[in-house]
């Protein structure tokens, strides 16, 4: 289907099902129950899952295929966000021009940075991109936000004010980002018994876009162009000796992944019309590297999983506080309850970084291929057991791995 082989088609379909049914899948616990703390099916987090999924898919096109580790991708995300908010300020709150411009501007910006950075490879490339990103951050944070020439509004973040021109804004168009009149914030809540599921317009816009760019990523992975990028990763020198100039390929990959990042940035601004300079900081660039490695570098679905994993920890674990813990362990005797809470305390709330760090270490050590490898191992074990049961009557012992 759609020029994909069977395996890729089923992967695309699985992703489609997961994203479209996310409001159900992410809200498995009834409202008001103790486990409701772990529900992630509220609009903001679902939007973040897919937006950072897009960001990571794009990053993976560069890192997973060519092996070029960019430490500055957050700069493109930030540039995308700023362009989108400027579109809101100048034209109207319709998200289409905003998202379009964010992709274009991020593409141009990545062309510029990629052209310079790709003159070097390996660690030098990483450092160059990091330097550019930090430079962009400093520009956005203070230089370009002085009262005389205020492009980014600095620390406060760029936002839309009532006295902005908004020349295309219709008289009765919603006063917040919308898609031809449908506000991104609009949410339909479905109550089923004790459960409640949120269907958010903005989320579905992001989800549809993510499926489109996921499909595009599959096509890139399977194309001759993708093969060329893989060749760059495995042995660029040999490629050069055979007379091929690899630079146009790497630059194209860099620009494509920059545009993905810009798209993610534009969507972020479309969901929440404020662009902060922190989006461009090196920690944000590092985050997408973590997402990709955690999920599985060079795999299609891995980066999306990694993005979801990290955003889940950031948003759910950071919100568990001692009070919540006490309510969970209230059934224990007082002394024991306090002891258990004391033991768990460092890993929740402000300690979510610690929990994430430990999990990241475990994944990298035991599953070098990321979460995707974990999934494959489980699947293999399951399959083997299945075939194993067929042999079972013979009474043979199963071979241990």
């Amino acid at each position: 289907m759609l020029g994909l082989n069977k395996k890729d088609t089923s992967l695309l379909i699985i992703v489609a099902i997961l994203t479209l049914l996310a409001p159900f899948i992410l809200n498995p616990f009834p409202e008001g129950s103790a486990m409701a703390q772990f529900n992630a099916g509220y609009p903001d987090l679902m939007q973040r899952f897919v937006i950072f999924g897009i960001f990571a898919i794009g990053f993976n096109i560069l890192f997973g295929l060519t092996g070029y580790l960019s430490f500055g991708h957050a700069a493109f995300l930030g540039v995308g966000s700023y362009s989108a908010v400027w579109m809101f300020k100048l034209l109207s709150y319709n998200v289409i021009p905003a998202i379009a411009l964010s992709v274009v501007v991020a593409g141009l910006f990545s062309l510029l940075i990629g052209f310079v950075s790709l003159r070097r490879s390996g660690i030098y490339f990483s450092i160059l991109t990091l330097a550019f990103a930090q430079m962009s951050f400093a520009l956005a944070y203070s230089v370009l936000s002085n009262p005389k020439f205020n492009l980014t509004n600095g620390e406060t973040g760029l936002q839309v004010y009532a006295d902005d021109p908004q020349i295309l804004q219709g008289a009765n168009a919603p006063d917040l980002p919308h898609l031809f009149g449908l506000p991104m914030r609009a949410t339909y809540t479905m109550d089923v018994g004790a459960w409640s599921f949120d269907f958010n317009a903005g989320y579905y816009l992001c989800a549809v876009i993510m499926m489109a760019v996921f499909y595009l990523a599959i096509r890139i992975f399977r194309s001759p162009f993708g093969m060329m990028l893989r060749a760059v990763k495995s042995n660029q020198q040999r490629m050069n000796y055979t007379g091929l100039n690899s630079k146009p390929y790497t630059l194209a990959a860099f620009v494509i992944s920059g545009m993905y990042a810009g798209l993610a940035g534009g969507l972020m601004a479309a969901m929440d019309p404020l662009a902060g300079a922190e989006r461009m900081q090196w920690t944000a660039s590092g985050e997408v590297v973590l997402m990709t490695i955690l999920g599985g570098t060079g795999t299609l679905i891995g980066p999306v999983l990694g993005a979801g994993f990290i955003k889940y920890f950031e948003n759910i674990f950071s919100k568990i506080n001692d009070n919540v813990l006490h309510s969970w362990f209230a059934f224990l005797p007082d002394g024991l309850e306090d002891a258990v809470v004391f033991l768990i305390h460092p890993f929740i709330g402000k300690g979510w970084h610690l929990t994430l760090g430990i999990l990241f270490m475990l994944v990298v050590i035991y599953l070098p291929g990321g979460l995707v490898e974990g999934g494959q191992r489980l699947l293999n074990r399951f399959k083997r057991r299945k075939t194993g049961t067929d042999d079972a009557p013979s009474g043979k012992t199963e071979p241990a791995e």
Partner: protein
């Protein structure tokens, strides 16, 4: 392998799902039954406490969180009641808010606008928070205030000192109890004149972001009105940790006062550098060299240690004040946590009580009712003396403290001494003052 049939079914299934997915948005526009966002229907009401738990202002944030938890206890009638006993409005009974038990959720702003908005959004969308309180930086405050305005909940700002929060970025659903840079300037100027004379030459080092600029602008304006001369204003990057290269030129500039428009770790480092360069021992233009830090906090004072001795600055509130409200708050905070509260803790505590009281008086959780109840509300007994929540810009007006690093501290918390309590009338300004102009409160938004 029977992949083919699986795929076909998958295609059909996903087609059907995609169809519903595309059809769904059309029913989103249907308005829901609630009269306003997160209308509390059960026996409890949820408040969102959004403070920096990691990052440069983590200490301030954790202190705020302690105070907020204390406020919830007092609202629910636990503990000794704290400021409920001294508050001039007697609407709060200690039985929660409007009879509903107060519960709270917490989040980490990481002192980043993005993270703060994400955290606040999850409180509003997931936990059903009806009000967001907290924050320890102006960028975050403005970002979250904008979000609350869009979402239709009330934002009670924590520590935010930039003029913009109730100036060009003011919002109808947002309220600030803390003082601002203009007030710092207005309060400090007379004390500076009395202590240092009217013929001084000032050199400014300013953190290069929004808050730093508004503070520099305010201090320059109020000191120049005294007759001081501004020799130079230098912007320093926020991420700097070593300010030696910025301090050295001060010595040869002909200035005799150094103004540090820095906060948190920046201020601790720049002040330490200035002391190491022996600035305070110098004599310039025939006068002793002086250092001024316009915005002080207890936590910064503790960080700077010995170096703050004799350095002047301003504060919103200090635990050593002797009014009834302060005594009651310091007593219950001290008994619970074993230390005196900081001024960021006090502002958050006061904000939570003020919100609860406004809801009681309005008789509804509807943000528009709350806004109406808070606008032009006059109260006393929360520690800052008689206070006025001005309706025109949602800024509190109250006395401002001028403090000095204590020369002979007797204990770890006794780092600052109060030099003067500047009366409210002296720090008031017109809502259309040029430093605050350009904003628009807009209309209160109840959401839904």
């Amino acid at each position: 392998m029977t992949n083919k049939s699986v795929t076909r079914r998958g295609v059909l299934k996903s087609g059907a799902v995609a169809g519903t997915g595309l059809a769904l948005p059309t029913i989103f526009t249907a308005s829901s039954a609630a009269a306003f966002t997160n209308e509390p229907t059960g026996s409890s009401v949820t408040l969102g406490f959004n403070v920096p738990q990691t990052g440069p202002y983590a200490e301030e944030g954790n202190d705020e969180l302690l105070a907020q938890q204390l406020a919830v206890e007092h609202l629910n009638g636990e503990g000794d009641g704290g400021c409920l006993n001294t508050f001039s409005s007697k609407a709060l009974q200690g039985n929660g808010i409007l009879g509903k038990k107060v519960e709270f959720v917490t989040g980490d702003t990481q002192t980043k606008s993005d993270a703060a908005r994400a955290s606040a959004k999850s409180m509003i969308e997931k936990d059903g928070a009806i009000m967001i309180n907290g924050g320890s930086s102006s960028g975050v405050a403005v970002a979250v205030q904008g979000l609350c305005q869009e979402a239709g909940v009330i934002f009670m700002a924590g520590l935010t000192h930039a003029n913009d929060t109730t100036g060009k970025d003011k919002k109808a659903n947002g309220f600030r109890h803390f003082f601002n840079a203009y007030m710092s300037g207005a309060a400090l100027a007379p004390v500076l004149a009395a202590e240092m004379g009217k013929e001084r030459r000032a050199y400014h080092l300013t953190a290069d972001y929004n808050w730093g600029w508004t503070q520099e602008e305010s201090i320059v304006a109020s000191t120049e009105a005294l007759g001081w001369e501004t020799v130079n204003t230098v912007k320093t990057p926020l991420a700097s940790t070593d300010f030696s290269s910025y301090i050295a030129p001060v010595l040869n500039s002909g200035a005799d006062v150094l103004v540090l428009n820095h906060y948190g770790g920046n201020m601790v480092n720049s002040l330490t550098n200035a002391i190491q360069f022996g600035l305070l021992d110098k004599v310039a233009n025939g006068k002793d060299f002086k250092i001024v830090v316009p915005l002080y906090s207890e936590l910064m004072a503790a960080g700077a240690g010995e170096n703050i001795k004799g350095v002047l600055g301003s504060m919103n509130w200090n635990w050593q004040l002797q009014d009834e409200g302060t005594k009651a708050f310091v007593k219950s905070f001290g008994e619970k946590y074993g230390k005196p509260p900081s001024n960021s803790a006090q502002t958050c505590y006061a904000q939570v009580l003020l919100y609860a009281d406004a809801v009681e008086r309005a008789g509804t959780f509807n943000p528009c009712g709350v806004v109406e109840a808070l606008e032009d509300f006059e109260f006393d007994g929360l520690g800052n003396g008689p206070t006025w929540y001005r309706g025109a810009d949602h800024q509190c007006f109250k006395d401002v403290l001028v403090v000095r690093g204590n020369q002979n501290p007797t204990n770890a918390y006794d780092t600052l001494e109060i030099v003067e309590i500047t009366p409210r009338a002296q720090v008031e300004y017109d809502p259309e003052h040029p430093m605050f102009a350009g904003g628009d409160l807009g209309k209160c938004n109840p959401g839904a």
